[in-house]
Symmetry: C2
Subunit: 235 residues, 2 copies
Amino acid sequence: MSSKKLISQGNPSIDPEEAHIVDRIFSAVMEQRLAPNTKLSEPKLCETFGVGRMRVRRALLLLAAQGIVDLQSNKGAYVACPSPIEAAEVFHARVLIETGIVRDLAAAPDPEKLELLREHLGREDSARLGGERSELIRLSGEFHVQLAKAHGNSVLGRVLRELVTRASLIVGMFGTSRGETCPEDEHSRILEAISRKDGDEAARLVQHHLEHIQDGLDLKQSKGMNDDLKSILGT
Amino acid sequence: MSSKKLISQGNPSIDPEEAHIVDRIFSAVMEQRLAPNTKLSEPKLCETFGVGRMRVRRALLLLAAQGIVDLQSNKGAYVACPSPIEAAEVFHARVLIETGIVRDLAAAPDPEKLELLREHLGREDSARLGGERSELIRLSGEFHVQLAKAHGNSVLGRVLRELVTRASLIVGMFGTSRGETCPEDEHSRILEAISRKDGDEAARLVQHHLEHIQDGLDLKQSKGMNDDLKSILGT
DNA sequence: TTGACAGTCATCGTTAACAATAATTGGCTG
DNA sequence: CAGCCAATTATTGTTAACGATGACTGTCAA
């Protein structure tokens, strides 16, 4: 199930091979299998994906443009380490966009799309009960992407996917032990509110939900400073 | 005044030189000096910007990732021709995001930022009275970007800049003679509503404003089909 | 005159070699 | 033994040349 192919950027301009690399890294970040500040060396990626250096380089550039990786001149590509300011901006942007999306969904709910979301909730439950942590993290994030998909606006979908991925990075950096995944019922309550066409309530729930996740973060102490240590302790 | 440097993507990962190219093309599209379907050949761009082919190629890839240019395999890079569906999606996304932004602005207006917006309106008036069409088009679009800037969220700023630029493309493709620029007073009325903390009204005005622009489009008949003719009439 | 075909040309895509920068390791000295 | 300096190594950034694809033009035949 996890091997289901995302349509990458949905952008025909981008070579499928590079899009695949981008997708894989996106997913890895979403599942928090790639920690912030992880080095993504070109030779390693070339070997991993069995492609030439050019493809890897282009993929890294695309990821950098979306703030997922940090391209340091003459040093290499590293998984991005969002600053607390960036973190706040990403979450605020998500609140703004996602509340708008659920309001639209509630205003004209499409039973078919809602059913897909319900199925998604089912998968989340399965993963939660089955103890598949990685899968649960992925699904938790992807629920929000699915909200955008249900909305049907691919532009918003793309934007939100980027934001959700960056949010995963942030949770990975600043997340405390508890609250790393979305509380079980909040997603279903959001979907419920949409179903009964209560847009205001759905928006309120989304805002609350995202702020709840933020509250579970400790913006002061970051986990991703493994190699800042050198510069801190140096000299 | 038009040579004021935009901070490109604000992304330190991207080489300043490429960012400059991206910015220039962004601006040209915004000012409708680059029509949809215009070919952006690599040699021409290399000469224009005095850089190597690699830089141009990277810049084009970044533009393609944002839907500004269309990268056709073995054919070259062309300024994108958004479909009517894309057009609707872009405008809908803008309504969603911009209404959210003005609501936030109205909820906690910063007098300093508002003053900057007022100055921007002044520049728009100057351009309008001075008959500087190109400049007016640019400023009209940039007002919306400035709204995001005033909001202070750079993530939203980046997203909105992309959307406004794509909207410029759309207006260039489907725009009828009248209504190509924003009606004079709508921007000021939006700013007014924000000033008096009337978020709902500001949101209403923004929505109305954007829908007004959309109404000035003829999604049926596109101006950019110059070379689709061949494939349509061919064989 | 018009259509099709072939040859030429330009442009794009890819690869490989080269240059430059930063990290690492080893040795040297205090 | 610790700290520093130098040389090597690995990785990145750039350039240039090559191969491939598509576009154009001029010719020839119907």
